[in-house]
Symmetry: C2
Subunit: 210 residues, 2 copies
Amino acid sequence: MSASAGTKKRILDVAERLFGERGYAATSLRAVTVAAGANVAAVNYHFGSKEGLLRAVVDRAMGPVNEARQRLLDGFLADGGKPEVADLVEGFVRTGADLTRPREGGAAAVARFLGRVMCEPDPEIRRLFADEVGAVEGRYLEELTRALPALSAAEVAFRYRVMIGLLALHQAGALADLAPRGVSDGSSPEGPDEETERLVATVLAVFRAP
Amino acid sequence: MSASAGTKKRILDVAERLFGERGYAATSLRAVTVAAGANVAAVNYHFGSKEGLLRAVVDRAMGPVNEARQRLLDGFLADGGKPEVADLVEGFVRTGADLTRPREGGAAAVARFLGRVMCEPDPEIRRLFADEVGAVEGRYLEELTRALPALSAAEVAFRYRVMIGLLALHQAGALADLAPRGVSDGSSPEGPDEETERLVATVLAVFRAP
DNA sequence: GCCCGTTTCAAGCGGTCGTTTTAGATTGGG
DNA sequence: CCCAATCTAAAACGACCGCTTGAAACGGGC
């Protein structure tokens, strides 16, 4: 067994946070290891390379989300019937958006990280992430297409991508930052829960449009 | 006068393309200058620093869009009446989305660049961009709030951010890339025009939801 | 023709990047 | 107790980063 399995976990935690805050390219291994109280060599020992570290962080972060979505979808299909659009959308969005809430263990760093990775420019990173979530997302797209026979497959696919994109922006905290400057918003700070509710309602409206 | 004003323009063109393709942090000045057939020192001579170059590219790219949006909004307001939601949304989205079409002069690099900058993690870059578009965007948000009295200001602001975010993803080409892998999409490749139409319709649906 | 401001270039600055090497701790099993 | 396996640390590798320097090319005005 690992003498101090703490190092590996600490590196993963810090990398998740820093990758989410600054992006992958702008985060150096040294920044990660210093913040984690570890050595640069530990990264290459445990993960092989910087990209290996990213892959490990993605794996750990998406694992529970993928499982939750699988279980939810299996539940919808278990009754033998066709799942409804509202169930599919709410299930999919909420399993992702719930990560933005200050979690039991730690913070909303997971969400920020996942949202950020989804928007990374490097196509290799995009592919890495797509491989991780592809299977589950494909099932949801299929079911949504079945549940929306009035819409063409291309139209459903487009709205599906809108859902994924909005969820990513929400997770990354980018939606909250996109407000224009000069407007003195008298609105209250808007907790993450209110924003999640608005997001679910919005995505539902997108799918229900004629 | 500049002996060969070509160098400055060539650097701007290449930077716009590379920043849009790889992101700001992952693009080195050397990559830009080599592709532009220029020297690294030329960047610091013309723009002062890497961030100065970014600022110049943002300025050049957003200038026409800001002007077009100003003119459009002025036209809506000139009749003395309140502009309608459909006009505001279509005007705003189309002025941004039209950049994705292969332009008269060159390519859709401008759009990709703008969409990418809007999603950059670095808060300083976000601020830089927000300063550039803030004034015009603020006016659209105000008019949208006036045109949607049934919705709370916070609700309009949220849907407004959804519009900005979706437009950014569309410009960056991220919407087209977010499709799940394993699904053999029988759909045709979907040109940018079809996607723009879908985007306009979707954003309109978002604002018209109760 | 010469001059001076503008523009470009090759070279190099200190620093940081991702990665590797080598050696020293630490640990559980025989 | 010792050994082998596991893990971490310090130092260094070559490469590349953004930026600066000093000098060469260029151009129009006198």
